[in-house]
């Protein structure tokens, strides 16, 4: 049907635009690919339910992340917390498709991010990978903007330390 329908089209655009980001966010939080996939799917289902309830989405991306965060909290409540050491961050492509230098870069990137504390990691990733403002991150994580600014700054310093230990 020609008009079937604008809401769905808009929602589809939302999925195409943010599914990778949401998935990545979940993956760094739950350290398990399948679980992250499940939470990402569930996030979009909840977003759709909110849309058909007539919820106002002022900031669609931040809204999706907030829902994902709530689901992650639920997940932690239900299951025993998973050790971050087991963080399973595999590349999107099959490993064979990455050339050795790419594989090395990815390894460094993941190791660096893994070595940050969980709070710093979330703040830094949301800021520099997902491009959220401090205000948005504060809304997503339920912390004050000051707290988030501090976390981003400290997280970033740590990243610098790891990359350039001599500085």
């Amino acid at each position: 049907m020609p008009n079937n329908n604008l809401a769905e089209k808009e929602f589809e655009r939302l999925f195409e635009q943010y599914s990778d980001s949401i998935f990545r966010h979940c993956l760094f939080k739950v350290s398990h690919r399948e679980t992250a996939l499940d939470i990402m799917q569930e996030t979009f289902k909840r977003v759709w339910l909110k849309i058909i309830e007539g919820e106002k989405l002022d900031n669609q991306k931040a809204f999706c992340f907030r829902i994902a965060n709530n689901l992650i909290i639920d997940f932690y409540r239900k299951s025993k917390a998973i050790s971050l050491d087991s963080l399973e961050v595999e590349p999107a492509v099959e490993k064979g498709e990455l050339n050795p230098s790419e594989q090395a870069d990815l390894q460094i990137a993941i190791e660096t991010i893994k070595s940050l504390g969980e709070r710093y990691r979330e703040a830094v990733l949301l800021r520099y990978v997902e491009g959220f403002s401090v205000k948005e991150i504060a809304e997503i994580s339920g912390e004050s903007e000051n707290v988030i600014s501090v976390r981003i700054n400290r997280g970033l310093s740590k990243v610098k330390e790891i990359i350039n230990p001599e500085v």
């Binding site: 008009n3 329908n5 759709w48 007539g54 989405l57 990137a109 990733l125 520099y128």
Partner: protein
């Protein structure tokens, strides 16, 4: 220095869904979407049918059927959108689909005029809601104002056509209703312009200009409606009585609903209007009893206008929850007092009453429009500000 951003870049590029995972997720999510279509929320047609004549009711009866067919064909289209405002996710659905569909299934000059007048009213409601929530920006203002003007203009043209078709009474009723709606919204918007930081003066000016046009049109129509034979006049008066009773009933239920949700403070001005309306109604009944039809008609029309104001006020209060005390009753009574004596002879005093508003309007025009750029995602820390230069993709 840039190396840390390589890290973020690499993560963004390589830590993501695989194509197969994305396809799988997409299928699962859109299966879910198909099973959970958007639901039905608001129906104004019932109300419109109550207000209409018997022929109208007949036509409206078929409208829901046509709509249901469309909804079924389109897989459950989109009534949640009815409460959306510009900038919302579902607002395009409301204006470009829902309203279009209803326009398509609205037949006849009268229902078209009614619907277009309702559309223009919706734009004002949206503007008020956005202003109250501090979400109005310049772009939205321009868009809302243009749409409001176009829809109001269309309604006016249709009313003029009704008049040309000889349906003078219907045209007069519709025009009065539109004027009433504009008057109430003019009050609400004027108050918002004073109390809110948002710049809504552009819309206020437009509403005032249209209101002025409507007042003039109404006076013209009322004069014509008054040139009727006495039998026809009696019939017209009795119709007016029924409409007054219906309108009062609707106002009462709107007030009761708002009061139950927001308390009695929120419905003060609506109640004052309603009481004034009941007063006119009682007088009108007495005139009708005494077969003084012209007087009765005037009184019934006043009762209808006031009751309608009460209804709009109560409903809009519920929408915005502004708790603003709008002196509409006084305003209306003052404006109307002239038509007590002047009905049928031009309403010159009415024109004078308006002149005051015009002066008000002129002074408002001189206020410069401040465009405030809303900083999306303003940074709170200077350190972060500096880091912006190094953001990904730059």
């Amino acid at each position: 220095m840039d190396k840390k951003f390589d890290i973020f870049n690499n993560i963004k590029k390589m830590v993501r869904l695989r194509d197969s995972e994305k396809n799988h997720a997409r299928t699962a999510i859109f299966d879910f979407v198909k099973k959970n279509p958007v639901r039905f929320m608001e129906d104004e047609r019932l109300q419109q049918a109550q207000e209409g004549t018997s022929i109208l009711i007949l036509k409206f009866k078929y409208m829901p059927i046509a709509l249901i067919v469309v909804i079924l064909l389109s897989g459950g289209t989109v009534f949640a959108a009815e409460s959306a405002v510009p900038g919302d996710f579902l607002h395009p659905v409301k204006t470009e689909f829902n309203e279009e569909v209803r326009s398509t299934f609205t037949f006849g000059t009268e229902s078209n005029a009614r619907w277009n007048s309702r559309l223009s009213e919706r734009r004002l409601e949206e503007a008020e809601l956005l202003a109250a929530e501090n979400r109005l920006n310049e772009e939205l203002t321009v868009r809302l104002r243009e749409r409001f003007e176009a829809q109001e203009q269309r309604a006016s043209e249709l009313i003029a056509r009704l008049e040309a078709e000889g349906k003078t009474e219907i045209a007069a009723n519709l025009a009065a209703r539109m004027e009433n709606v504009l008057e109430v919204h003019e009050q609400i918007i004027a108050r918002l312009a004073e109390t809110s930081d948002q710049d809504i003066s552009q819309i206020l000016d437009t509403v005032r200009a249209r209101l002025q046009t409507r007042v003039e049109a109404r006076e013209h129509l009322e004069v014509r409606a008054n040139n009727l034979s006495s039998e026809r006049l009696e019939e017209v008066v009795k119709n007016a009585k029924v409409r007054a009773e219906n309108q009062i009933e609707m106002a009462e239920s709107a007030i009761a609903e708002t009061e139950s949700k927001l308390g009695s403070d929120a419905v003060l001005s609506a109640k004052v209007n309603l009481e004034a309306s009941l007063g006119h109604k009682t007088e009108a009944d007495a005139y009708l009893e005494a077969e003084v039809y012209a007087e009765a008609l005037v009184k019934y029309q006043q009762a209808i206008r006031l009751a309608h104001s009460a209804e709009v006020l109560a409903k809009q209060q519920l929408r915005i929850d502004l708790r603003i005390d709008i002196p509409v009753a006084e305003f209306l009574l003052r404006a109307r007092s002239s038509s007590d004596t002047n009905f049928g002879s031009g309403g010159g005093q009415q024109g004078n009453g308006r002149t005051e508003n015009e002066t008000d309007l002129d002074s408002r025009n001189e206020v410069e429009i401040d465009i405030e750029l809303e900083g999306a995602g303003v940074e709170s820390s200077a350190d972060i500000e500096q880091e912006l230069d190094f953001r990904l993709g730059q």
